[in-house]
């Protein structure tokens, strides 16, 4: 049965990413609940909740074909505002301990304490305090700097009153600043790396807005779950390559409870343990990860190894360069997956085919090409390396221990059963500028907002076991070549096809490409829970 969600109760940015809905810039602001000002802080939450953007539908290309236009109940805001809380934030706001004890361990401990198991400490550093932005670590020395609340602003590219998105964003931010101060409910925390230090700036307005800083097309795939789309037909179209794969090779939406609390999940259990159930239901958890990218180091390393690759494989430096990038990520720089085009020649042929297509069919073809693939037919990793970023972060069907072998024209078949409980929604935007003349010391990277019902089972597992370890990918201690922690012997194996006359290629001594610069675990409450928090009325009995 088609599962219809209570969209007005769910915060925006969970079901759909703002970045894809025409909100190209944003700001993240961190707040501290001032001791002795609990009531004023709740009053501020009460003020903010009236401005919070929900998942209600607004007129857009997504909704224009809805048969029932009554479902389009909202207008697109100039600035989408959302709010989330750390465990200590909920405690400071007076949420009862009896409710909070139902919160999971990892959320109670927080990301700072779990940085070691996430392997966020790299190189010669002793602790994340040496690496993270001040705003995240000052609480180690000063409890009055504890991160309690996250408020995010995402600005509409075309604000209604013809002002610029930047102006709308600044106005929304200033309205929050006006409500905060040391003698008020909450203070704005300072110590983000970039000026003016009181917020984290976000923007996709790079030279090419579809590319992240390393030059790859980003944000192609994301899990699809029941209730996420207003129309079942849209859901069934989106689910291909993004949902779960059954034994009959049918793609189905994942269970809602994998991403929203209080719903049934893939284990047929109801997610979320904080009582009352109204407090959990339609809320979720979010891992905030500020990921700095050493862009120059990345390009330099690829160029250096491309020379070796070009010599050993007898190809041009250009081909070697593109191939190494693709074999690390799992997709070519334009997003075409290696599974569909494992060699440079096949990639070029695919590009030529796409550009020759009529516009009408191109888009549908591209969506299929970019999303719809499996790994069962690539059991030796010769198309897409086992250890590539794409395969590690979403192994699709590759971990299934029972594979039906190829029969006739049908390729081998496997299911995604061991992957269905490890999916994460990726929200968030790039920040900072990179490019010629900009050093790695400057502040630029991606702000990942990872949304899932269980940070432990989904986000932390993917991070620790799949990105920072290689056992499930037959890669020993190797970590993800892109976002992994790279020790002195970090390497990445590019498998060769069994019928190829070329040996496998090993990228050795990979430097640190991505560094986490801060983050925390947040609870993203439903509008109901937000009201309970604001009114101090959470009743766990």
């Amino acid at each position: 049965m088609f599962n219809e969600l209570d969209l007005a109760d769910i915060q925006g940015n969970i079901l759909q990413a703002y970045g894809r809905q025409g909100f190209p810039i944003g700001r993240c602001v961190l707040l501290h609940v001032n001791e002795g000002h609990e009531q004023e802080a709740r009053n501020l939450v009460d003020t903010l909740r009236r401005r919070v953007t929900t998942a209600e539908l607004w007129p857009s290309s997504r909704t224009k074909n809805l048969p029932n236009q009554d479902k389009v109940t909202a207008t697109k805001p100039d600035v989408a505002i959302n709010i989330a809380f750390t465990f200590r934030g909920l405690l400071a706001l007076g949420v009862p301990v009896r409710t909070l004890r139902g919160m999971p361990d990892e959320f109670q401990e927080g990301m700072l304490k779990r940085a070691e198991i996430l392997r966020d400490v790299h190189g010669a550093h002793q602790s994340v305090a040496e690496i993270w932005d001040q705003v995240w670590v000052e609480e180690l020395k000063d409890a009055s700097k504890q991160v309690h609340v996250l408020v995010t602003f995402n600005a509409n590219a075309q604000p209604s009153n013809h002002q610029s998105p930047q102006a709308a964003l600044e106005a929304a931010y200033e309205s929050l600043v006006a409500c905060c101060g040391p003698n008020q409910g909450m203070s704005i925390l300072s110590g983000h790396r970039q000026y003016p230090h009181t917020y984290q700036d976000l923007s996709v307005l790079q030279p090419d807005p579809t590319k992240e800083h390393f030059g790859f097309t980003d944000g192609i795939g994301d899990p699809v779950f029941e209730g996420q789309y207003p129309q079942e037909a849209d859901l069934l179209a989106a689910v291909i390559g993004q949902g779960k794969l059954t034994a009959s090779q049918e793609w189905l939406p994942l269970a809602t409870g994998e991403f929203l609390l209080g719903h049934v999940d893939e284990a047929q259990e109801t997610s979320g343990g904080a009582m009352p159930i109204d407090f959990s239901r339609n809320g979720t958890f979010m891992a905030y990860r500020k990921m700095h990218q050493n862009v120059n180091t990345f390009h330099r390393y690829i160029e250096e190894k491309a020379t070796v690759y070009a010599a050993s494989h007898g190809v041009s430096e250009e081909e070697a360069n593109e191939t190494l990038r693709a074999k690390m990520v799992g997709r070519w720089s334009d997003g075409i997956p290696l599974i569909h085009a494992p060699t440079y020649g096949q990639w070029q042929a695919e590009r030529a085919k796409i550009s020759a297509m009529p516009e009408a069919t191109r888009q549908a073809y591209l969506v299929q090409l970019l999303r719809n693939f499996t790994y069962a037919a690539d059991a030796d990793g010769s198309r897409c390396p086992f250890s590539s970023h794409l395969r590690r972060s979403n192994p699709r069907d590759m971990l299934d221990p029972t594979v039906s072998p190829a029969a006739g024209d049908a390729p081998p078949r496997a299911t995604s059963v061991l992957n269905n409980r490890r999916r994460i929604l990726r929200r968030g935007l790039p920040y900072g500028q990179s490019g010629p003349g900009i050093s790695d010391q400057e502040d630029h990277g991606v702000l990942m907002l990872v949304v899932c019902a269980s940070l432990f089972r989904q986000f932390e597992f993917v991070q620790q076991q799949w990105l920072q370890y290689g056992l499930d990918f037959q890669s020993g201690n190797d970590t993800c070549p892109i976002v992994g922690n790279h020790g002195h012997a970090a390497k990445h194996v590019i498998e060769a096809a069994p019928d190829s006359d070329k040996p496998p290629f090993l990228c050795d001594h990979i430097p640190q490409f991505v560094e986490v610069r801060g983050g925390a675990y947040f609870f993203v409450p439903s509008m109901t829970a937000l009201r309970l928090i604001a009114q101090g009325l959470t009743d766990p009995t």
Binding site: D380, P401, T402, Q474, N477, G487, A489, P503, L506
Partner: protein
């Protein structure tokens, strides 16, 4: 025989811990029960070698079990008592009929005393008691101080004949291992999706003798039994006996150990890990080399790392080089 499989002995032993207080005191000067003393010692036993390859680690700090090159894994843990998991559940109607009064507490089971569980997985030629004794005497040779510290708190330790009493403590406490496991059963093709290991077809062996015998006896019954009724009873008895015999034979075949996988002993495993690690460095070093250089480098690699020599150079046990 689940204690022994695939060239590995799977030891499970429960050694009773002495009751009352130990003569020693803890670091705060407080008195110490034997159970507490064992726990303290186990907590501070080193488990990992700090340095990678054999010959380079400082012996004094080495994990004691790593001094024995037969032990793959081992665990020592104190089991105080059974954990009470609540009253035995009964259907309310059954309880009412049997007049069980739920207000009266049900029985709570206890162990007679605390036990030290000693679980180990080591290379062995067979599963005999003598093999176990040889292993234990071998352990004593390399870690007598640590074993004395632990086992003196267990019932049966004799300071006059410590080695013999230690071996007796462990062999007396041995219980059957019913779920043995190690990682070297099957050498399949490398690849992500591996099937089950190829098993020999044992059905002819299981069925052959019982069915042949049953057939012969059945013929004899038909030829010799004087009445139909007697034939019927004898055939029924024969059928029951044959089924029982088959079940016993299936269990007996199931108990047969797998043969040892080639090079599944600890020394070979360590050498394999050592070679694997160094071979990766060699591969990286050779990328793009011409064939002459490659051959020269390979000869140098073989000379330095000696793949055919199991014991040296190799990786130190209980070390996890990155």
């Amino acid at each position: 025989m689940p204690n022994f499989d695939g060239g590995h002995f799977f030891l499970s032993s429960l050694i009773p811990i002495r009751e009352g207080l130990a003569s020693s005191r803890d670091d705060t000067g407080n008195s110490l029960s034997h159970i507490h003393a064992v726990r303290e010692i186990l907590t501070i036993l080193p488990t990992e070698n700090p340095i990678g390859d054999a010959g380079t680690q400082v012996q004094h700090y080495s994990p004691p079990f790593s001094r024995d090159l037969r032990t793959h894994f081992c665990r020592m843990v104190v089991i105080d008592d059974l954990v009470f998991v609540g009253r035995q559940h009964q259907d309310a109607i059954v309880s009412a009929i049997r007049k069980i009064n739920p207000v009266i507490p049900g029985p709570v089971d206890h162990l007679p005393q605390a036990y030290l569980a000693f679980i180990a997985d080591f290379d062995a030629p067979d599963g005999s008691l003598q093999t176990l004794r040889d292993y234990l005497y071998g352990l004593w040779q390399v870690m007598a101080p640590e074993l004395t510290e632990i086992f003196q708190h267990c019932i049966g330790f004799e300071h006059d004949s410590p080695a013999d009493s230690f071996v007796k403590q462990v062999t007396d406490g041995q219980i059957e291992t019913t779920m043995s496991f190690h990682d070297y059963y099957w050498q399949g093709e490398p690849g992500l999706w591996q099937g089950s290991p190829p098993l020999p077809n044992k059905w002819p062996k299981v069925l052959g003798l019982p069915l042949t015998t049953a057939a012969l006896v059945a013929v004899a019954i038909f030829l010799l039994a004087p009445t139909t009724l007697l034939r019927f009873f004898l055939i029924a008895a024969l059928l029951a006996a044959t089924i029982l015999w088959l079940i016993r034979r299936i269990i007996a075949v199931g108990m047969e150990p797998f043969p040892a996988a080639p090079r599944a002993d600890l020394r070979s495993v360590l050498k394999a890990l050592y070679l694997q690690r160094n071979f990766i460095d060699f591969m990286i070093d050779c990328q793009g080399c011409d064939s002459q250089t490659l051959q020269a480098k390979y000869l140098e690699f073989v000379g330095r790392h000696q793949p055919a020599s199991v014991d040296s150079p190799t990786q130190a046990p209980a070390s996890i080089p990155s």
